[in-house]
């Protein structure tokens, strides 16, 4: 992976920079020795590693401001980091960059049930928000698979999704406000606790901007009352095409389930071995469909869905009868990445989105590519919204196998764009897909985005080498 040339004047002054950071921060908030820096050399995209110059772990907004001012003054690059779960290398360090880790800013500052919001610091984990409000039967809706570990600051930065965004939307649809520290150390209050904001939609622009525009210090999220109950059902089909047609039929009927997930045969087997959820092993494709409401409402809605599925000759169909059974069904799905990790030494998780009608076509072409590259692929798919997660299995000890996997992944994403979709649905561009951006955007479209980045960060110090292809970097910076 090509990285921008480290600034030699920064590398040379490493000791002074670490001392300078210790002068503006508490000693405990600065990490400068190689042993302690080691855990920060990679994130969820472990194929890439790079030791940073230093790591700072600010404990409040004032310390974030101090770091930004110091780095801005000295022209030092900054890599924001939450829990380090990015699957696209969003938090991969640079040799001449200071990683600003947000995990110590992990307080829940305010919860308001009457007005239905929670104000939290960026280092609060996704699940911790729901845990903080669940006694009142409220929850925070977006639920990425990494929700036990990933932090809300990272969720905002990547505009994370999850299995239930078909009904509740992604992170961007569940935010009200932010506090953002600019590279100059100015604190911007974006949005608020109300629903709409006058003027430009800064909240929308900053969400999913992958640390390119500033560092978050506070997030105000919407919280919702939990439904009376939820129940999942499984429907296995004889082919991907038939399962895809069934998804179409469900949506066309006017039913929007809260979740509608698709797994192909390799994924079914990997997940069943791991979760023992009772997935049908003889099916070529499996749908997990979840509905919400009272017992009666669940029963009625599932009956309608069963009727639709029945028209597509399912090889099996099973409605969960207990909360435990539903939990097992979701354990298999949410543990899918780990499950594939059990059958292959390594895998790359892709994240393209396609128009749902293209599903059978894309799966067929992906299988052809799999044969061509000689690498297996398992598919997990948020079928309701077209977000594909092909898991390409390879062996990281075999360099050729890794390069093949990368090329295979790139071909899949190009295919997604070709059929009317996009490179990434919820994992972000990061470093992984940066050089594919020109497949989706024209030079003028990329330049317009670069100019927006420049308006916030004139010297391109914030998370450089991510999102935008390196080739245009010097021109815009």
């Amino acid at each position: 992976m090509l990285q921008p040339k480290p600034k030699s004047n920064v590398l040379e002054k490493r000791a002074e920079i670490i001392a300078g950071l210790k002068a503006v921060l508490p000693e405990r908030a600065v990490i400068g020795d190689d042993v302690s820096l080691k855990p920060y050399e990679t994130d969820g995209l472990t194929a890439y590693k790079q030791m940073p110059l230093a790591v700072v772990l600010p404990e409040d907004e004032a310390q974030v401001v101090a770091v930004m001012k110091f780095c801005h003054l000295h022209g030092i690059r900054i890599i924001p980091r939450g829990a380090g779960t990015s699957l696209s290398g969003g938090a991969l360090p640079l040799a001449d960059a200071v990683v600003i880790g947000m995990m110590r800013m992990n307080k829940i500052l305010d919860i308001n049930y009457a007005d239905r919001y929670a104000v939290v610091q960026p280092g609060v984990t996704n699940i911790a928000i729901t845990q903080a409000v669940q006694d009142e039967e409220f929850f925070y809706a977006p639920d990425p698979s990494s929700q036990l570990a990933c932090m809300i600051g990272g969720n905002v930065s990547m505009n994370s999704g999850g299995a239930h965004c078909l009904k509740y939307g992604v992170t961007a649809n569940n935010l009200l406000g932010l506090r953002l520290v600019t590279i100059e150390g100015e604190v911007l209050e974006i949005g608020g606790k109300q629903m709409d904001a006058a003027g430009y939609d800064w909240l929308g622009l900053i969400t999913g901007s992958e640390g390119q525009l500033g560092v978050l210090t506070e997030v105000t999220v919407r919280i919702l009352h939990s439904p009376e109950g939820a129940r999942a059902m499984l429907a296995g089909f004889a082919s991907n095409e038939v399962a895809g047609a069934c998804v179409d039929a469900i949506i066309s009927s006017g039913i929007i389930p809260v979740a509608l997930e698709f797994m192909d045969k390799p994924a079914i087997h990997a997940c069943e071995d791991f979760a023992h959820a009772g997935y049908p092993l003889d099916a070529e494709a499996l749908l997990i469909i979840e509905v919400e409401g009272s017992e009666t409402e669940q029963t009625e809605m599932l009956a309608r869905i069963r009727d639709i599925c029945a028209a597509y000759n399912p090889v099996s169909m099973r409605v969960s009868q207990t909360a435990e059974e539903s939990a097992a069904i979701w354990k298999g799905r949410k543990g899918a990445f780990g499950a594939v990790g059990r059958i292959s030494p390594d895998y790359l998780c892709m994240d393209g989105t396609i128009p749902t009608s293209q599903l059978p076509n894309v799966l067929k072409r992906m299988q052809a590519m799999s044969d061509e590259y000689g690498l297996k692929v398992a598919n997990i798919f948020h079928a309701g919204d077209g977000n594909l997660h092909p898991l390409i299995m390879f062996d990281a000890n075999d360099v050729e196998s890794f390069h093949k996997a990368e090329a295979f992944g790139a071909d899949i994403l190009k295919l997604c764009v070709e059929v009317g979709g996009c490179l990434t649905g919820e994992h972000g561009v990061g470093i992984e897909k940066r050089d594919l951006m020109s497949v989706q955007f024209t030079p003028a479209e990329l330049d317009q985005q670069r100019r927006i980045k420049t308006a916030f960060d004139p010297d391109w110090l914030l998370n450089p080498s991510k999102v935008f292809p390196l080739s245009g970097l010097s021109a815009a910076a």
């Binding site: 009457a114 100059e184 100015e186 911007l188 006017g254 649905g425 317009q448």
Partner: protein, 375 residues
């Protein structure tokens, strides 16, 4: 007035422009916000037509000049609808481009999200005449900066949208409304809050002070609507006996709420977005000034009308600011709109970034200059 027939011609018109352009669709929103001083007008009215509709994928694309009424008719024929039910407060000529450029959403915004939550992609021409597309036609997309959201609600001051793609949803089989009577504004908003904080997925929550009534809407399959309206009405019994409206009455009522039919005719109209619990105090504080209105979005959207003078405007803005919220001057005679802040002023640091972002799209400053803020 330039009304190009193609995106290329529109781009050429912008490239060739020698000075500021008043950008509009059918011009239905020109009484909103600040007047633009421009010698030439550029309209998207002739860029019209639905270009993609895939009901099974919940997605539609339409050229910017397509009338909202045409879009709603096409959707209705397939049993679908715009999720945020945009208000028809600017008549039947308003275009989808205008709706997106103004980010105007109706009652369902309270749980279903605003137009900005449903815009999936845009095609637009920036101030240099470059044709750009951002986002796409798929429901989940985090590729690059979300410029489609940035353009939504930007009132044509960054780029001229030529086509928009948005998510749609099925029309529910049934609609029910719980009507609670004899409530003051605090009680009304408390009832709305209890409903929105219930498991019953309320999709509309409005309070009319003149009638002292609170309304909560539920939309779903008929049996669900019956079950949930009855259950929720029971839970709200402390607010008095509820009347429950059926589908037909509900649809008519929420159409009137959407279109602000409950605002008295007056010279100035404001729209305030605040935390829901702040709504009642704002109504009460402004009543002595002859400002009246009603609450939507559970109390968080304050629709107001009153005299069009500086003192009243200042009082309205002050009330929104005190509540930590935001405002738009939706309608007023031009002399007032030309001299007041029609949206809240920006802090200095944000204003500097905003100016740079604006220049990054429109270096000559020719697209709707001064529409949102004095140049």
């Amino acid at each position: 007035m330039m009304t190009p027939d193609t995106e290329e011609a529109l781009a050429a018109a912008i490239r060739d422009a020698s000075g500021p352009l008043l950008v509009q669709g059918n011009g239905t929103k020109l009484s909103m916000l600040r007047p633009v001083q421009a010698a030439a007008m550029l309209s998207t009215a002739n860029l019209s037509g639905i270009t993609l509709y895939a009901p099974n994928e919940l997605v539609m694309s339409a050229k910017a000049g397509t009338r909202l009424s045409e879009i709603e008719k096409t959707l209705a024929e397939a049993g679908q609808q715009m999720i945020c039910e945009p208000p028809h407060i600017h008549g039947e000529n308003q275009t989808i481009g205008g709706i997106v450029a103004s980010n105007l959403s109706g009652p369902r915004r309270v749980t279903g999200g605003a137009i900005r939550d449903h815009v999936l992609g845009v095609r637009a021409v920036n101030g240099s005449g470059e044709i750009l597309k951002f986002g796409g036609r798929v429901l989940k997309n985090v590729t690059g900066l979300d410029v489609a959201k940035l353009l939504t609600g930007s009132f044509g001051t960054l780029a001229v949208m030529t086509e928009v793609t948005f998510k749609v949803l099925p029309v529910s089989e049934a609609t029910g409304t719980i009507v609670l009577r004899g409530l003051d504004a605090e009680q009304g908003v408390a009832a709305l809050s209890a409903g929105l904080g219930s498991p019953f997925f309320v999709t509309g929550a409005a309070y009319l002070p003149a009638e002292r009534k609170a309304f909560l809407r539920i939309e779903d399959f008929a049996t669900s609507v019956k079950y949930r309206t009855e259950k929720l009405a029971g839970q709200l019994s402390e607010f008095g006996a509820a009347e429950i409206l059926g589908t037909e009455d509900s649809i008519a009522l929420w159409r009137d709420i959407r279109d602000c039919k409950f605002l008295e005719a007056s010279e100035a109209v404001w729209r305030l977005s605040v935390v829901p619990s702040a709504g009642p105090a704002i109504l009460r504080a402004l009543a002595p000034l002859g400002v009246t209105g009603f609450l939507d979005w559970g109390g968080g959207l304050v629709n107001l009308t009153g005299p069009a003078d500086q003192a009243t405007h200042d009082a309205v803005c002050q009330a929104a600011s005190v509540a930590g919220g935001t405002w738009w001057l939706m309608q007023a005679p031009e002399p007032l709109r030309a001299v007041v802040d029609v949206v809240p002023p920006e802090p200095v640091a944000l204003a500097a970034i905003r100016a740079r972002v604006q220049a990054s799209f429109d270096p000559r400053g020719i697209l709707n200059p001064g529409r949102l803020r004095a140049a």
